[in-house]
Symmetry: C2
Subunit: 461 residues, 2 copies
């Protein structure tokens, strides 16, 4: 844990002058008081010294900035809303001081193309701003996540952000029709036509999505939009086991309106209730809970109720038709993070396991940490995505290593949503084979032979 | 146009012996009578001399074959069902005789994973075989196309095949959860876990999808399955213009059950009716026709009828509730290809334009070819995908070049579904910029430094 405040810059830096000519004096930040919020992530867990922060105002300026840095061999760290959780968007604590290239001034929001149902936006547009801008046209963007007010579209694409609605809309990669990006040599690639069928070579848009700023700087995006759904219904299901929850999911997933299926357990519910003084959702206590939500252009309550009546593994269910009632049910799941953090700094892991391994894996993790930490496990059922939170671990790194080895043993992913960044490079080999890593490194070297874009991210140096 | 029959092989070829040791004597074909069906495509328009055809029986054999060929620097042409339309799966007419690596023996069909709703299959499984194998479990695969009996899953992924249901399910890339593939150095990458959330580096599955066999040989795939839908309704809509059809589409697309929206024109309908002696679908003649189909777990007729009643741009509509009636309506669209071919060998182009450019582009093409060829235009409305068929052109290459320049001028794709292969390399630069082509070439060189995998495909040598 380091604090990046107070790192200075070299005086008389010619790069500063060169970049000022490109973006204007106000677009280059060198004062540590001004750069601090760009050099450290919001958790305070990652960060390091910076040479300067540059804030270009359009794609052409981004390209010129990249060329200027490349000419000097200065590493570049592209940054969106700086809401990442793995240190991929801030400087490393050591090594040559990089330039942080902030994209937050790229805030253009183009008109909606109603026929293609697409929109072109700047990389720096925050998710919440995008959604607000298209709501009155009856449209929405498929991805939603807690950091919506700060997380930018460019950063979400670069990290292939997930969230709660992946079940319905896929991850960010699936919601993007095309991008514009600046390559490490300063060339601009433009895939903004957003054609749904275009078999003319490799899918560069998909390749850059999830590449965590290591291959190119995303400057604009063409987004697929989805109808705004005004009718919602939520239900909290009480079950005896995660196996029963999976059986329920298989049937619930047949509802086209299903967009959320979140699981948690009795211990998590107890913690949340104690922390927030909430009443019990049911008269009795159950081992496993599943929060589901359906959304549609028409009221999906009847179809959800019909399925719930069929499901004989559901021991009890609370259904919420109104907004306030839905928020009351959702709080049992949403307050997990806050309630856990109130217990101390947790060791947090974000993993996916194949769904047929989920029940056994959860039991294995509980057995593994028994007596060494208090586990709180919850997550997104339809993707086998578990947020592992361990409180009070004396040896967090060793425990993380052991849990991630279990993930690898069942063919899971050591980073479901958060990416690799700097935090997880040491475990990359658990989820990707040597052949894959060597193929990925070859692609990285091909597009960024100088290695100036986000060095140390995804791949350890 | 060349015929590949009769190309011999070198006698005493040591590569033959080496490959026979890997795949068995029956897995190496050298007799021109046996290799002919692998060396020429089904149209007879593409093909060339082959050194031998090798048919490995599993992934390990594929890897050994690739290593053996790489060691000798012998080019490899991966081939699935050999149903491609751009010559990407057969030898070039000139140059060093390559090995055709046929994947059709990789026919394993794994069990359905009902919780993940996925299946793992060999690259050589034909699409129709896959669909038949999962039908009794109430499941389907999202992509469907006319070559379903021969086209293999591996080939469909390699070419990112489209078809009629892209509107609902996306292209093949969107329907694949992961792949196994052999890299040009013989290393195997295994992305078969099919995890819906896995942010651990670059999306190699997505990169290989649509790479037309130039980056790796796909050996197995993990496919996303979709519920088998048993209730269908179709409607043929009569409209005054493609603009009115787009207006109708915007409303129709709000139906989650919509899975097909195909357009054609009065001249095409006349040709089909004359060729197949079909009655007129309507009492009057209209300029533009739109064939739509909805499918659901329950009967979608009512919701389709409700939308049709709202649409005041629809001049007339024929709705088909039964299978025979649906086939009668579908024939007006499906018989276009056969009816056009009966007029002579057409110049065929498969292009996408941005949907707001569609109406003007269609008019431009008609004006461009006026007096030089008879145009028949039809296609997939929701993707702006037009099958341009020109009959009687005296200068087909020049005409193709002019039409594709128009496509480029409006930001379209010169190959929507068919890929680049060998047929369209000269026009790649119309849809992809110099920066993109150089980035794609860099990726190709990174993964295949020897250039042994499908040389001359996508990129002209």
């Amino acid at each position: 844990m380091i604090t990046a405040l107070g790192f200075g810059i070299m005086s008389g830096d010619v790069l500063v002058e060169r970049l000022q000519k490109i973006v204007g004096a106000s677009g280059v930040l060198t004062d540590p008081a001004l750069t601090a919020s760009y050099t450290t992530d919001f958790t305070g867990g990652f960060g390091g010294p910076v040479r300067l922060v540059v804030r270009p105002g359009d794609t052409a300026e981004v390209a010129e900035v990249v060329r200027a840095c490349a000419a000097d061999g200065v590493p570049i760290i592209p940054q969106g809303g700086n809401t990442g959780l793995v240190g991929g968007g801030v400087p490393a604590p050591a090594g040559p001081a990089p330039v942080v290239l902030s994209l937050t001034r790229l805030t253009e929001i183009g008109p909606v193309d109603p026929i293609a149902r697409q929109i072109t936006v700047g990389a720096g547009v925050p998710l919440a701003t995008l959604r607000a801008a298209i709501r009155d046209q009856g449209l929405d963007f498929g991805v939603d996540l807690a950091a919506r007010d700060s997380a930018t579209i460019g950063g979400m694409i670069a990290t292939n952000a997930g969230g709660e609605r992946v079940l319905r809309h896929g991850t960010t990669r699936a919601c993007v029709a095309g991008i514009e990006a600046v390559l490490p040599d300063g060339q601009i690639i433009d895939r903004l036509a957003g054609l749904p069928k275009d078999n003319t070579g490799f899918d560069l848009t998909g390749l850059l999505a999830g590449s965590e700023g290591t291959l190119a700087v995303i400057t604009r995006a063409r987004l697929k939009l989805t109808p705004q759904l005004d009718h919602h219904v939520a239900a909290l299901l009480a079950l005896d086991s995660i196996g029963d929850a999976l059986t329920a999911l298989v049937r619930l997933r047949e509802l086209p309106s299903l967009e959320l299926a979140e699981f948690f357990f009795a211990d998590g519910l107890d913690l949340v209730r104690a922390h927030a003084s909430l009443p019990a959702p049911f008269r009795e206590t159950y081992a496993t809970y599943l929060l589901v939500e359906c959304a549609g252009r028409t009221d999906p309550s009847d179809e959800l109720m019909a399925v719930l009546e069929e499901l004989d593994t559901v021991r009890d269910a609370a259904v919420a038709m109104t907004g306030p009632d839905r928020r009351r049910l959702a709080a049992y799941r949403e307050l997990h993070t806050e309630s856990i953090n109130a217990q101390g700094v947790p060791l947090k892991l974000d993993v996916t396991v194949p769904m047929h391994e989920l029940e056994r894996f959860l039991a294995d993790v509980r057995a593994l940490v028994e007596g060494r930490a208090t586990p709180y496990l919850f997550g997104h059922l339809a993707e086998g995505n578990i947020h592992v939170n361990l409180i009070g671990a004396a040896d967090p790194e060793a425990l993380a290593d052991e849990v991630l080895h279990r993930v690898a043993a069942v063919g899971g992913s050591i980073s479901a949503e958060h990416g690799v960044g700097r935090a997880k490079t040491r475990w990359l080999g658990l989820s990707r084979s040597a052949a894959e890593i060597s193929a990925m490194r070859a692609v990285k070297s091909a597009l960024d032979p100088q290695g100036i874009l986000n060095p140390g991210v995804i791949f350890s140096d």
